[in-house]
Every structure is written in C-alpha cells, then in structure tokens.
Symmetry: C2
Subunit: 369 residues, 2 copies
C-alpha cells in the first residue's frame, strides 16, 4: 500500500481483546453524511444513544453518555471527575488494566492506595473490607473483566462492602459489558464505563460511561475544577442533557454507529446475547482443551469474553500469532505484562462471538501447533 | 425517528464553523471493516497518516499524529504536555476559543497570565513583546483562525517576538489549517493542532497535532508526569512511533477516513485548495454585501474559512437560522459569547467551500431577509 493507492485491507477475523468485528449495517450507518453537532437531527441521535446505553448498562442513571474518546478516555473520565487532590482512593489491581487505573489515579493528586492480587486471580470481599477498615477511601476502583488475565471479578459482595464503608464503587466494564450478565443498578456501581469497540461491536473511539446520583452529587460538590476540561462531565452533561450547551464537537459518525450497534444488541436481546457468548465460549474452551492446551484461569473465575491460554512449551508465541494473521487472517493477542510470552488472549466479543469464528481458530491452531 | 427506525437524516449543506461536509469517498473508506489497532495493516495506515499530516502542516516534525479525540482534546494535549505546575504561561485571547485555551491552561497549575484583545480584532507583535518583557513566559498560546470572530491573526512577527523571549509558540490552527496558507516550519510554531472536521473534511473525532524538536525536549525534560494519561504524548508517540508500544486503541475507522481525507487534499494540492477557498470566500463576501449585510471583520484581518456577518436590526437571529435549516437544509451558526445574537457565522471549510453552496446560501438569505 502506498499513499497513492486506495485503502485496501484484508478483512480479519478479530479474536483479540478488541476491537471486535463490526456488523455491516453498523459500518454502513457510520458512513451516513455528517450533520452538525447541534443539528436537531443529531440531538435526536444523542437522545437515542443515551436511552440505548441505559438498556445495556441496565440502569436508570440520567448521566449516561459516550465519552468522545476510546476506553482509556472513559477510564480517565471515571477517575478525574470524582477525585480531588488529597482524596483517599483505593485501586484494586490484578492485571494490566487495573494497573492502568492506578497509574491514572496517581496523576490526580489522590492519596492513592493500591491492593494487588496475583494475575489470574480475583479479589475477595474480605480482603477489601480489611483494607477499608484500615484506611478510609472515598472511591474504590476495580475491574470487572480484566482483559489482560481473562478473569471475571465477582462484584456483588464487594459492592456491599464498599458501600458499607461509605465509598463510591467505580467498575471498569470495558471487556465485559454486553457479553456477560451485568447490571449497573442491581450491582450498585456508582461509576461504570466501557469501550465502544468491545462487546458492543461499534468501531473504537467512544467510551460509554454511566454515573449514579451519589457520584453526580460528588461531582457537583467539588471544591476544585476537574483537571481535564475535555473530560469534565459537569460540562459534557450540559451538552448531552436538556441544556444543549456547546462543549466540544461530538464525533457525529461514531455516534451514528454507536446508535446502530446498540440497536443490534437490543434487537437480539441481552439474554440472547449472553447465551450466545456463553455457548461460543464453552465451544472455544472445550476445543482448546481438546488440542491439549491449558487455560490460565480456573472455570469459576473465567471471563467468557476473553480467554487466556498458556503458550505450550517450545512454541514461539509470536510466530504462531503471525502465522494466524498472515495465513488465516485471524487475529488473537499475546500476553501483556506478567503474561507476556506466556499466554495468548482470545476474545469472543459481540459480533466476533460466533461459532464459525471459533471453528476457524481451532482449525488453524490445530494446523499450526 | 424512533429507536426502532433506521437512521434517516436529511443531508445538510454544512456552512457552520465545522463539521464541514465530507467527500463521499472519505465516508465510504471509513466504512471499511475494522482491523486490530496493532495489525500491520493498521500500522501502515498510521504511517501514511503521519506523512500526509506533515504535508498539510507543512512541517518535518517527527511527532505529528492525530490525537484520539476532537479538536478540544488536541487543545488540551497541546497545553498539558508542555506545562508543569508553576510554569509561567501567556494566553492571548480575542474570542471564544482563545478563552477556552485560557480555561484549560488554568487547570494545569500554570502561573497563568492572559492578554485580551476586543472580539473582531487581532494582536500586534508590539503588545505581546511588551507583555513578555514585563513577565517571562515559558509558553505563549494564540489562535490563528478564531472561529468565534472570523479573525485571522497575523503570526509572523509574533513568532519572532515569542522566540526572542525564549518561549514556546503554541498555535491553534483548528479553523485555518488546510483552508488558508500556513506552514508550521516557516512560521516556527513549536506546537500546533487542528481538528479533523474543519478544512480537512474528515468526520469529527481526531485532532492532528504537530510538535517541534524544542517542545519535544521540553516534554522529555519534565519533572512531573503529564496530568492526563490519555493525552500524554510521551506515551502516545511510543505507539505512533517505531516502538509500537500499545497505549490506547486508536479509532481505527476514523484514521481510515483521515488518511483518505488527507489524500483528497494532497491530490488537489495545497495551492489549489487555498485558491478555491479564496475564490469562494470572495464570492460569499461580495454576495453578502450585495444583500446589504455588514461583515464584522475588516478585510485585512478577515478569515476566509469563517465569515462573521452582522444580524440586521429587527431580524430574529434564531428564526433565520432555523428556517435556513428546515426549509433549505443549510446550516450556518449563531454567535458565541460577545457575538451571541449579534452575528452569524458562515463557514467555508474544505469540501463545503464550493461555489454552489455559496449560491444556495445567498439565494436562501435573499428569500428570508
């Protein structure tokens, strides 16, 4: 490909940790001509997006909007809006993205404490309760589906503990929302965000976030301004709410795409979506074990949307991934951090979570290993 | 439109301050299936985008990338990467977007000074020299094309003055880049950003930025971390550079679109692009004056890509704009801040800057006024 040639890419079967494959109708809708970011036609799209997002977050939260950036922008927005310098904050990390939360929180002036669990494991409510008894926190951040390890963190008891200690619960649902059962309101998550390009199967560039009333009050009662103007939800909500005060130019076409991607999810129905992810993940896990491969996470903690599998002894991690991509147009990912070179990461997210994709991957792995 | 219906928008003639209209081939290219953000196919797209961006910024700067957010994210990135708490910073503002720069700078811990000029006017190098003699600054920020006033700020002498005082020059070229002659390297701008949705005629969601070697050194020599992890260019450049270290998931399809939009500009050729903007802006200005309307900015400071025109006495600003939109599908914008209710803002940016659009607008205004 040169600068003088049209974009001409081989289509990939995307079984990495995201982006996932995007349904053709979503891509087509994204290519609708642009209208202005204050056009009544676009304001209607914004209203639809908010309502559809509430359906997938399973929440009544009024402040439910897509942040105009990728998942990491959502992560940063989820932190900087609710933390002021000197605030005690607890970040629980058992993988790469938990560590990223801690890194971002460390840049807010928070009085930051971290609680670590080994990669591939989860936190218990007891651990977190002990930590909160020893050190008060205003906000506790934790990852629901850790993309780097393939662990799904149980959250029900942790939510009770966090709220019993008067803290806000911030949940990273980037890899899990729209793939496994999850309800913001049932859980009582105060702040929760995801990325458009994971189980929602919209192209990357938006980070849906939802904020409960308690956290909205914390935002309203701040003593200092939010350190990021771009991610300041007190300004963003005036644009996305009924005030319609201009803040920034929303990514119009990505919002077209998000509306359509959310409609795809809602038309299938969340229960059916979860059942499909459950069925294809069982198929993948069984198939990998039939190939003699070892899964990294015990069945009770295994995340259906992202599977980690041990790279067998004597096998070159990178060579296998390169051959999958170049010979079969299949993308999976290598390990991050503590799992680098040790694990492959196989995503089954949204539109990618289909049996034919699992069969293609298993067939390709059988030939390559 | 309801949630149950397909997106179905009337196409608009976009003559506001951005987004501008997007060529069909750019929209079509954006709808290319997603590939992974670390796929060699996407890495090649990133390299093309960087090279094409250097052509339109007219710079050799290695650090030339699209920030994964809209123009305001570019603005924030241009500030937070180069300012540390206590740094003396001078922001020159003569309009809404200059004021926004000051607002964002005020959240960095900078020792902020501002210099104001009346809306509709520009700064002289003498003014800025006097200010810098009185108060040292590490960085001076100024807007090239102020979208709220329609003023094009002359910058050559100011660049000399700023550099003579040892400061970095930060230029907001959101409304001007790709519409009027401008060269980052000839001017000596140390930091410069724009938005994808203005004269480059790509959908909104990316903010190209370019950083010269002096500013790169300032970034490298920081004592403190950049307050925004998402916008931290020392991390972003490791992903966009040869290291290819994962930072965040780039908005893949928007980068497809940006590559194509930049190719459109480069195929036409910058000189031809500028000549087209010059011709249609002359046509617009003459046509507005023939209708008896008054332009807000004197000819020597008038920005070709964004024209401000006085709302005639006795005419309801909002009614005219609403009728333009609903009866003729033409978008123009109202005034912001000091110009609210007093001026209309008419953009001629990129693919929108065509004579047939000017004729449609003039014809519609003739009927409505």
């Amino acid at each position: 490909m040169s600068l003088y040639t049209d974009l001409d890419t081989a289509p990939r079967i995307l079984l990495g940790p995201g982006p996932s494959m995007v349904p053709p109708r979503v891509l087509r809708t994204m290519a609708t001509p642009v209208v202005g970011h204050m056009d009544p036609q676009f304001l209607a799209v914004m209203d639809d997006v908010k309502e559809l997002l509430r359906s997938v977050f399973v929440t009544q939260n009024e402040l439910t909007v897509p942040v105009s950036g990728t998942g990491s922008a959502g992560m940063e927005a989820a932190l900087v809006n609710f933390i002021e310098p000197g605030d005690p904050v607890l970040v629980c990390h058992a993988g790469y993205f938990g560590e990223r939360i801690a890194e971002i929180a460390s840049r807010t002036g928070a009085e930051l404490r971290t609680l670590a669990a080994p990669w591939g494991e989860a936190f218990s409510a007891t651990q977190i309760a002990a930590e909160l008894r020893a050190h008060r926190a205003k906000l506790v951040a934790i990852v629901h589906g850790e993309t780097s390890t393939g662990v799904q963190q149980p959250l029900e008891e942790i939510s009770e503990v966090v709220h019993a200690h008067g803290a806000l619960l911030l949940v990273d649902a980037v890899a899990s929302l729209g793939g496994v059962p999850f309800s913001v309101d049932t859980l009582g998550a105060d702040i929760c965000y995801t990325g458009s390009q994971k189980c929602l199967s919209c192209p990357p560039g938006l980070a849906p976030i939802t904020v409960g009333s308690h956290a909205v009050n914390v935002l309203a009662d701040r003593h200092s301004k939010v350190q990021s103007w771009y991610l300041d939800l007190s300004l963003v909500r005036k644009y996305w709410g009924t005030d319609r005060v201009y803040h920034h130019t929303a990514p119009v076409n990505l919002n077209y795409a998000l509306r359509e991607a959310l409609r795809v999810v809602c038309e299938e129905g969340l229960e059916n979506v979860f059942a499909r992810h459950a069925a294809v993940s069982e198929m993948l896990w069984q198939g990998l074990e039939d190939l003699g491969l070892t899964l990294m996470v015990s069945p009770d903690l295994r995340l259906r949307t992202l599977t980690t599998v041990r790279v067998p002894d004597g096998v070159d991690d990178a060579v296998v991934r390169r051959r999958l991509l170049h010979e079969f147009n299949i993308e999976i990912a290598g390990g991050l951090g503590a799992f680098r070179g040790k694990a492959w990461r196989i995503g089954l997210m949204g539109h990618s979570a289909r049996p034919e994709n699992v069969l293609a991957l298993l067939g390709a792995l059988e030939r390559l290993l």
